[in-house]
C-alpha cells in the first residue's frame, strides 16, 4: 500500500500522509489499514480516493478531515473522495499492520473459513494477543467498534478484541 506514495516527489508531503492513523486504532496508519485507494498529485493539488471499512464507520469522516488538514498545512489544496467499489476487505490490511494490531492487543483477522469456525462454531482458533494461547472463547460477535468481536482468553483470563474478517 505504501507503493501509493511512490509517485510523490515532495518528501514532506509523504511524511505527513504517513502520519495519518485510524482514530480508533491509532497504531495503524491509513496505509496499514488499506483504506487509501489512489493518490494523485498535480502541481499543488492532491486528489485522494479512500474507501470505508464498514458503511457506518464514523472514523471515515475523521480520516478524511485529518488528510485534508495535513495536506493543506503544506500549502496544497486537497480533494478527498469516498469510493465504495471495490468494497474493502480485511485482506487489505498490510502484514505490517497485522503485526501492529497484535502488539496493540487486538487479534488480527483470520482467513474467512477460520473466522466462520471461530465465530459460529466457537472453535478455539483466535490467538490471545496477551499470552498467545488459542484456548479462547467468543464473548460477543460485536465489539467496541463495528470491525471487532469480543473474546476472552481461558488461560490468562484477559478479555480482548478480535478484528473480524470481512470479505
Amino acid at each position: 500500500m505504501v507503493g501509493l506514495l511512490e509517485n510523490i516527489t515532495d518528501e514532506n508531503l509523504k511524511a505527513e500522509l504517513l502520519k495519518i492513523t485510524d482514530p480508533e486504532i491509532p497504531v495503524l496508519t491509513v496505509f496499514d489499514l488499506g483504506v487509501i485507494r489512489k493518490i494523485n498529485v498535480v502541481d499543488k493539488h492532491v486528489n485522494i480516493d479512500i474507501t470505508p471499512t464498514y458503511s457506518g464507520c464514523p472514523a471515515m469522516d475523521t480520516i478524511s478531515m485529518d488528510l485534508k488538514v495535513a495536506i493543506e498545512s503544506l500549502g496544497y489544496t486537497a480533494n478527498i473522495n469516498l469510493v465504495l467499489a471495490p468494497a474493502w476487505t480485511t485482506d487489505w490490511i498490510s502484514e505490517e499492520g497485522k503485526k501492529k494490531l497484535e502488539e496493540y492487543g487486538i487479534a488480527a483477522p483470520l482467513t474467512e473459513s477460520l473466522d466462520k469456525r471461530a465465530l459460529i462454531d466457537g472453535e478455539p482458533i483466535v490467538k490471545c494477543p496477551n499470552c498467545s494461547s488459542t484456548n479462547t472463547k467468543l464473548v460477543s460477535q460485536f465489539g467496541s467498534t463495528a470491525c471487532k468481536a469480543l473474546f476472552k482468553c481461558n488461560d490468562c483470563l484477559e478479555p480482548f478484541d478480535y478484528f473480524k474478517c470481512l470479505k
Binding site: 464498514y54 458503511s55 467499489a85 463495528a146
Partner: protein, 249 residues
C-alpha cells in the same frame, strides 16, 4: 426514470433508517452490555447504508441533500415497510423483528449486487458483508430464545405471532419495484422470497417455533401507508432539524 430511481433509493434506504432508529432507542437499554453493543453496532451499519443510498439519491434531485431526505419528509413520503416500525416491546420482539428483516435483507442485497446501476451495486457489495453478520447474530438468538426456557420460548413465539403477519408486503411487488426490476436495476422479489423461506425452514425448527397458522396481513408501507408508530418515530427523529433548520454539530 430518474424520478423512479430516486424513489427506489428511498424505498431501499427507509427500511434501514427506521429499523436503525428503533435499534438506536436501545442504546444503553440492552439486556446486557454485549447485546446492547451488538444492537447499536447493527444500527450503525444500517445508518451507514442509509447514508450511501441518500447521498446518491440527493444527486438525482435538485435541492435535496442527504440530510433533507432523511429528516424533512412527511410521513406519507417514507416508504419503509410496517415491520421495521414495530416497537421494542421486549427483547424477543427486538430479535424476531431483526431476524425477519435480515432474512429478507441479505437476499435482497445479493440481488442488488447484480444491479445495472453501478452505485446501487457498489452499496450492495459493501452492505452484504454486514448483513451476513446481522443474520448470523439474529438467527443464533432466535434459536437460543426459542429453544431456551419455557418463558423465553413463549415470548419468542408471541413475537413471531405479532410480527410475522407483516412479512407479506416485503415480497409484494409495487409498480415501482416492478419497473426497477424490468430495468435491471431492482431486485426480483420472488427470488428474495425463496431465500427468505429457506432461512425460515433452516432456523425455525431448531428454535421450536411454529408459524404455519399465522395469518399474513395486507399492509403497504412501501407506498407510504404507515402504522401509527411511524408518526411518533418521526416526531423524535426530526425534532432537531425542524426546531433548528440546517443545524449541524
Amino acid at each position: 426514470m430518474k424520478d423512479q430511481l430516486y424513489k427506489y433509493l428511498l424505498l431501499l434506504g427507509d427500511n434501514s433508517m427506521i429499523l436503525g432508529h428503533r435499534l438506536s432507542e436501545l442504546c444503553g437499554h440492552g439486556p446486557n452490555l454485549e447485546t446492547d453493543i451488538a444492537l447499536t453496532n447493527i444500527s450503525l451499519d444500517l445508518f451507514g447504508q442509509v447514508r450511501s443510498y441518500f447521498k446518491y439519491a440527493a444527486t438525482l434531485k435538485e435541492g435535496e441533500t442527504e440530510d433533507s431526505i432523511a429528516f424533512l419528509r412527511f410521513e406519507r413520503d417514507y416508504y419503509n415497510t410496517i415491520l421495521v416500525e414495530q416497537p421494542n416491546k421486549d427483547f424477543a420482539h427486538v430479535i424476531v423483528r431483526q431476524f425477519l428483516f435480515d432474512a429478507y435483507h441479505k437476499p435482497l442485497l445479493e440481488q442488488l449486487m447484480n444491479s445495472k446501476d453501478e452505485t446501487i451495486s457498489a452499496i450492495a457489495h459493501k452492505s452484504i458483508k454486514e448483513s451476513k453478520y446481522h443474520l448470523r447474530f439474529s438467527s443464533e438468538w432466535v434459536k437460543r430464545l426459542g429453544d431456551g426456557t419455557e418463558i423465553s420460548h413463549q415470548k419468542t413465539q408471541n413475537a413471531f405471532n405479532t410480527l410475522m403477519p407483516y412479512i407479506e408486503e416485503l415480497f409484494i411487488e409495487t409498480p415501482l419495484e416492478l419497473a426497477m426490476k424490468n430495468e435491471g436495476i431492482g431486485a426480483d422479489l420472488n427470488l428474495v422470497k425463496a431465500s427468505f423461506d429457506k432461512t425460515m425452514s433452516d432456523v425455525l425448527p431448531s428454535a421450536n417455533i411454529e408459524t404455519s397458522d399465522i395469518k399474513l396481513r395486507k399492509t403497504n408501507g412501501k407506498s407510504g401507508f404507515h402504522s401509527e408508530y411511524l408518526g411518533f418515530i418521526l416526531t423524535e427523529l426530526q425534532y432537531m432539524q425542524r426546531a433548528y433548520p440546517d443545524m449541524s454539530w
